[in-house]
């Protein structure tokens, strides 16, 4: 039996279209059909200047839009060979980690909803809302911030930022046990995710699975640790690696990563150096001829930005290596032989964001 899951389906979280072949309830084959929201961002960027194209990248992985912007800005800075002030570096990292936290929170709620529990979604949104408000205070937007620009950040931090972040951390720490009580320790949840959607370390490398998907299979792939950018090499945090390779391992990686993000924020929030938030840059940015590649760790995995420059004010060719795209390619491998319910659990723990896949 062949079933079309999507493009409109409650658990694909977007317009992903999966054609699944079933034998009874058992999944035989999963074939993703993409392109429902392909906007050809790569082509669009070819006609935008190096300042302008960053805003488009917010629309790729809209849950970690900030980190997308970060990757692009880093790539442009690498081409221009400019140093950015330490204050803006700290601000960028702070915002990155807040974004990661918000993204993982949303994922946590959405995963529980995929598995049929609605209530966690609202608890997750309560905390995420506070992060969004923090973002709104400083960046002026909640989701597509366009806050990071080549050379630094667009605006200085809001005066209340530090106080509010501390308030948030305090509240978040007092709430984090609820996540364990409601979902992690729940026996139904564990049965639904343990041993489901297994992918071995070798397959994870071969499929290019990164982020929590790769780390859940025991693959060390945290760009923040392996190829530190900004000030990540000066920070104390652990790369979370679980050996399970199943949905529960991926779940645990993300939940434990939230704690690590909190650790990073705690280290930085009292140590924001004074100074400029933006380096002096020319009005029109022109990258030298050549190609530049940067990688950053988004909430979903490794985002690669590949810019080919011909020396003009616009990129000649730009390619985003998005984490969701590679992770999705492993979905078929992971979900074969499972039940339909397992497919939803696997998809939930892969944390697919469809605009990130379609670009």
């Amino acid at each position: 039996m062949i079933i079309n899951v999507g493009p409109q389906h409650p658990s694909t979280h977007g317009v992903l279209h999966l054609v699944i072949t079933l034998n009874g309830e058992t999944v035989k084959k999963v074939e993703p059909h993409l392109g429902y929201i392909h906007r050809s961002i790569e082509k669009m960027c070819e006609s935008l200047s190096y300042r302008q194209f960053i805003y488009v990248t917010s629309r790729m992985d809209y849950l970690s839009s900030h980190i997308n912007n970060h990757g692009c800005a880093l790539c442009v800075e690498k081409g221009l060979q400019i140093e950015i002030p330490s204050r803006s570096q700290v601000i960028r990292v702070l915002m990155d980690e807040l974004t990661r936290l918000a993204s993982h929170l949303l994922w946590w709620g959405a995963l529980a909803m995929d598995l049929g529990a609605f209530t966690p979604f609202f608890y997750a949104f309560r905390e995420r809302e506070m992060i969004n408000e923090l973002m709104e205070d400083t960046c002026g937007a909640r989701l597509t911030m366009n806050y990071i620009v080549p050379g630094g950040v667009m605006m200085d931090l809001h005066p209340d930022f530090q106080r509010k972040v501390k308030e948030f951390l305090k509240l978040f720490q007092s709430k984090i046990h609820e996540y364990d009580e409601l979902v992690t320790n729940n026996i139904i949840f564990q049965n639904r995710t343990k041993g489901v959607g297994f992918i071995s370390r070798e397959d994870a490398i071969s499929f290019g699975c990164t982020g929590p998907t790769g780390r859940g299979s025991g693959l060390s792939c945290d760009i923040r640790k392996l190829y530190p950018y900004e000030i990540y090499d000066q920070l104390q945090f652990d790369e979370i690696i679980e050996q399970g390779g199943d949905s529960f391992a991926r779940y645990k990686v993300r939940v434990r990563e939230m704690v690590q993000s909190m650790r990073i924020i705690e280290q930085l929030i009292d140590n924001i150096p004074e100074g400029d938030f933006q380096a002096k840059t020319k009005a029109v940015l022109k990258l030298p001829k050549g190609d530049f590649y940067t990688r950053v760790e988004t909430a979903r995995g490794e985002l690669g930005v590949y810019i080919v420059s011909e020396g003009g004010s616009t990129p000649y060719r730009i390619k985003f290596r998005s984490p969701g795209f590679s992770n999705l390619s492993a979905l078929d491998h992971m979900s074969r032989g499972g039940k339909i319910g397992d497919l939803m659990a696997t998809m939930g723990t892969l944390d697919l964001v469809i605009p990130d896949i379609d670009r």
Binding site: P10, F122, K339
Partner: protein, 358 residues
């Protein structure tokens, strides 16, 4: 004091005096029919409202609060919307079965209403095999669901219907076995006998451990039989969009929706009758004054209070737990609930033979 019993008796007497025996019976039947349908509508609306409020409060929300005071009229407005919507029938569907299915589900739900004692001496039909009747009719619902799933000509619907059939058929067993435990203790299938046997204390608080186990098994089985989360695999909106009623719209969908809530009500009413003594007030041994105060509360309030409490517990389940997978669902039944309830039944029988329960 107005009680449902008094209302019933005075209506009966009035009708018999004015119309004569055969016509009075006819009039009574019509009145009962109207009362049942009204009860359905009111219950459906009230339970949907209750579900939404319970869900909202557990999810740190307010819930419906715009239409009418506290949003009480919200569900009525929703029903009105559904009534006015077009009832679509898909092209490839088996039209007759497709349109019949919601009514079948509804009628099955209505039939179970007959032996339920809503208050003292207030019962449509106190038949001698009351409990057996309930157990038998409640599995008719599955035919309606299968019919809906099959005739929709939709793969989601078919999968949902098949899941639902497997689920209801298996959970019927442990529900039946846990009901049997009480039947053995009481020694009668008649609902009124079962209630009267609890005059000196409800089964659940008499302190028999097997009864407690039977109650837990029964609660799980009822949750599963009514296709409620965490056993809502037949609908499983994240997997099968809406399961067996994917293709339904308008009033036909509303009937399915209503039937779900009526089934919960009936399941919980049976649970309240068997384990919580139906309309029997709460009595504590020799505390005469306390018992009198309890007696003063109308029996219908006792019944509805207990039923609503059980419904609340089932709603609580729904808004806390994730959904099970289909094989885990069947594992739970065949590996855990069925063996437990069988051994439990054995113990209860032994208890009844030895007379320990009295």
């Amino acid at each position: 004091m107005i009680s449902l019993e008094g209302l019933k008796t005075s209506t009966q007497i009035w009708l018999q005096n004015n119309l004569g025996e055969p016509w009075a019976f006819m009039a009574q039947s019509v009145l009962v029919g109207i009362a049942a349908i009204t009860l359905f509508a009111v219950l459906g609306l009230a339970l949907v409202y209750m579900e939404r409020k319970v869900a909202a409060l557990m999810q740190i929300r307010l819930g419906p609060n715009r239409v009418g005071p506290m949003g009480i009229l919200q569900t009525s407005a929703d029903t009105l919307k559904l009534v006015m919507k077009e009832g679509l029938t898909p092209d490839g569907a088996d039209k007759f079965l497709f349109n019949l299915a919601p009514f079948l589900v509804m009628i099955a739900a209505m039939l179970i209403l007959a032996p339920i004692a809503f208050a003292k001496n207030f019962q449509i039909w106190d038949l001698s095999i009351g409990v057996l009747y309930v157990a038998a009719i409640s599995s008719v619902t599955v035919i309606g669901i299968l019919m809906a799933g099959w005739s929709s000509n939709n793969k989601y619907s078919l999968l949902g219907a098949m899941r639902s059939a497997a689920q209801i058929v298996s959970y019927e067993l442990s529900a039946g076995l846990s009901i049997l435990a009480i039947v053995i203790l009481t020694g009668s299938l008649r609902i009124s006998d079962i209630i009267n046997s609890q005059a000196d204390g409800w089964w659940i608080i008499k302190g028999h451990i097997p009864v407690l186990i039977a109650f837990i098994v029964f609660l799980i089985a009822v949750t599963a039989e009514t296709n409620r989360a965490p056993f809502d695999l037949a609908e499983a909106e994240s997997e099968l969009t809406a399961g067996f009623h994917t293709e339904y719209s308008g009033m036909k969908f509303a009937l399915f929706f209503l039937a779900e809530y009526i089934n919960i009500f009936i399941g919980c009413a049976i649970g309240a009758t068997l384990f919580f003594g139906g309309w029997m007030p709460f009595h504590i041994g020799n505390w005469e004054a306390f018992n009198h105060v309890m007696d003063y509360i109308p029996s219908s309030i006792w019944f509805f209070g207990k039923t609503l409490f059980l419904i609340f517990v089932i709603m609580w389940f729904r808004w806390t737990f994730p959904r099970l997978r289909i094989d885990q669902l069947l594992n739970l039944e065949w590996k855990y609930l069925l063996p437990i309830s069988m051994i439990n039944l054995l113990i209860v029988t032994f208890m009844a033979i030895m007379g320990w329960h009295l």
